[in-house]
Subunit: 456 residues, 2 copies
């Protein structure tokens, strides 16, 4: 019963595993902000060191952006690849954190013990569940579960610009039979789940220029076009009264959910009243004729992630600004081509810009949507292992977020991916006071031990 | 011909007058920023000294904010009050100035000699035209033109919080037959003008709250309402396709321009193509059935002076923010009640906020619009004096900006105001590289000598 020994070892060494995670959490590896570049490199080195300590042939690998970490172990059997990302989101607004986001701690909460800190859930805590499962495995078996490739990136939170070129350049080294990705969550209050549908992403930044310089709104107001007026008209035009997105051709190629999947989702009895109520809302914001789970998992969206223009400080300044800006992203579903939609969005915006104003577009990342082929028996094997660990059946679910890596594994490396993670809806990823349940961390490590055993 | 002697004295002593203005310009009296508090006090003291040197009974007068300067001269005849402000706008962005904003200089430009520096036009150069006219008058006549009250404030660029309380507390001392205000401009390329219509101002800040905290747009996008979507719908709703403002009741009480005024304005042959072209625009942005001059002088406006929400830094962050904000101001015309419109605006906004989102309002300043009664013969006397000095007829014009002082003189002290100034559209007031034409300064001083002579 070597699996039992591995699980016992995991239970015994949980404090040490937590300490190691804290070391990683203390490194402020914010990938989107160039100021933190050195910290990203440090996080990559820390991981490569850890992997080498476990017996992987591992190293950081330079890219034009932040480094990748690649580790290999030999051995016989099914070749698996494990993916995670060591970079984290920015921490602003900092004043809403109740502790330093990079000074992690275990906190007792009414819902149990949690690990508090930026990256605790997304994705350092998650990737370390796999590393710690390997550590316990090695201790018991004297060898790593192999053949196994570990692949960590440091640009997931900033659009992964180096990812596809790196995969293309190292196709052979990174190819395996199936990929394991730990960057998703449990379903609802703790049902284990394998995510089989992922939305894609298309990011755009637009700048509207009205007058050539900032003007006094008394001297010019009424006669000179305000770029904020133009920008808000454009943004307001993007959703109709029924919550549908109005960009021409936006829904071309979007298919209806297969009946079987729809039935399974209905069986999940998703409590959207609680889901929205937990964040202070009550009215589903999407297309009026769709269920909330469809809005989140299988329907495309358009969100403004940031808007700014004019005077935004304390007090008042009667400026008529020269420029107004917005960062806009679309979540995409299978059947939508990001490049086609980028062009359609830009064409739509251009029709709304007055003759004497200008619009400039800045391209942010894209990633296609993904649907996994659950006919591969590895899916059922992993689902059984998860069910045993968590004491309730694992579900195949969708995910509103974009984990483009899954699409790239298929596209560039020709392999399917199993997305298994232990995050919870209230983890506050991308928000102040991010946390990861201690249960997620502990049972997450145990889950991987069971899955490695099942797939071995 | 003592007027000729006064004018000759003005011409002879222009270099000394310029030096004195430079002394005042060197004092960085930025009223909105507490760091410059001492400099504001110093500018007030400098002016009180000047006035005392001319024979005024003058002193600085404390307020809860920056001091006022009040000077009185005795004598017989029509009692005039002259108003100006010694505070200036902040200088940011400093890197766009081609010299230190508080190290003034005379520069030769293709359009003639200019005085460059913060406050050169708004309003130190303008107020000094009157002081220097008094100086020359005193030299020739041996006495000041009296009775004359001088009233300078130091909070005009920061909302004049102390002004009305000070007027109310010193009603008797500040009451005169008519007020002269030097804080406006020439018309077009140099036609003298008396401003008889001023727009009022109403400032509001609104904050829309959607979810109770920032969310991940992947996890929640589609189902959770984005407050930027709500805010942009509201702002986009404020103007219809014809450029009219849609707040219910907004135009109630707004009257049509009298035919005589409309005819006079048409005679001004305002070059709106150049006016807009100078700032890179070509299409008048206001109500489609109004002339550009009406849009600027006699029609109310709605401008967004600032908007912000979500992630506005470098790169991209897929946040679905909790809050979105805008600073919105309305320029008002006679017949519009700021308080009634504030309520109407808030009611309109509330109808557009979804059931599960919230709106909060923060009140910024208001000032009523003003129309002067040009039947007072002082207006025609001043207009004739200006026409003689500038060699072309003076015009009665409107002003898009808000100079609430004119309304307060009427409201609190019961006197009309004549707004006469020598600024030009290209003076870059409130912007980098502010300047005042040497011609404005020189002929401005001469103009006041003529007006004092005409009104004496």
């Amino acid at each position: 019963m070597s699996l039992e020994a591995v699980l016992a070892r995991i239970d015994e060494t949980l404090p040490e595993a937590t300490d190691r995670l804290f070391e990683l959490l203390r490194i402020p590896s914010i990938s989107t902000d160039p100021v933190y570049r050195g910290h990203c490199a440090r996080a990559a080195e820390w991981l490569a060191d850890e992997l080498r300590g476990l017996g992987f042939d591992a190293a950081t690998r330079p890219t034009p952006g932040h480094p990748m970490v690649v580790g290999q172990s030999g051995g016989q059997g099914r070749h698996l690849l494990f993916y995670g990302h060591y970079d984290v989101q920015p921490v602003d607004p900092l004043d809403l954190w109740h502790r330093d986001p990079f000074d992690p701690a275990i906190e007792e909460t009414p819902a149990g013990r949690v690990i508090r800190g930026r990256g605790a859930s997304d994705d350092k805590g998650q990737l370390m569940t796999f590393v710690e499962a390997c550590r316990a495995w090695k201790h018991v078996h004297g060898a790593l579960p192999g053949p196994l490739t570990i692949f960590f990136e440091g640009e997931e939170e900033s659009g992964s610009p180096s990812l596809v070129p790196f995969m293309q350049a190292h196709r052979e080294e990174l190819s395996a039979e199936i990929a394991l990705i730990c960057d998703t969550g449990l379903f609802g209050d703790g049902q284990p789940a394998i995510t089989t549908m992922l939305r894609g992403l298309l990011g755009e930044e637009i700048t509207i220029t009205g007058p050539g310089k900032d003007l006094h709104s008394g001297s010019y107001g009424g006669a000179a076009m305000n770029p904020i007026r133009v920008l808000t008209k454009i943004i307001a035009s993007l959703h109709d009264a029924e919550g549908r997105i109005t960009v021409p051709g936006f829904y071309d190629g979007v298919t209806e959910l297969p009946e079987a999947v729809r039935a399974q989702w209905q069986a999940l009895a998703f409590d959207h009243v609680k889901f929205l109520g937990d964040v202070g809302l009550s009215v589903p914001a999407g297309e009026h004729d769709r269920t909330p789970l469809e809005m989140l998992w299988s329907r495309p969206t358009c969100e403004v992630n940031g808007i700014w223009g004019g005077y935004t400080g304390a007090g008042f300044k009667t400026v008529l600004p020269s420029k107004a800006h917005a960062k806009i992203s679309f979540r995409l579903v299978p059947g939508q081509d990001p490049q086609v939609l980028r062009d359609a969005f830009r064409a739509h915006v251009r029709t709304m810009v007055p003759f004497d104003c200008e619009v400039a577009f800045h391209e942010h990342g894209t990633g296609p949507a993904s649907v996994m082929d659950i006919a591969d028996p590895a899916f059922e094997a992993a689902r059984a292992a998860l069910g045993t660990e968590w004491g309730r059946p694992a579900a195949y679910i969708g995910c509103g977020g974009s984990i483009p890596i899954a699409g790239y594994f298929k596209e560039v490396l020709g392999m399917d991916a199993m997305l298994i993670g232990f995050g919870k809806d209230d983890d506050q990823i991308h928000s102040p006071n991010e946390k990861y349940d201690m249960t997620s961390f502990h049972k997450g490590i145990r889950s991987w031990a069971r899955i490695l055993d099942a797939l071995a």
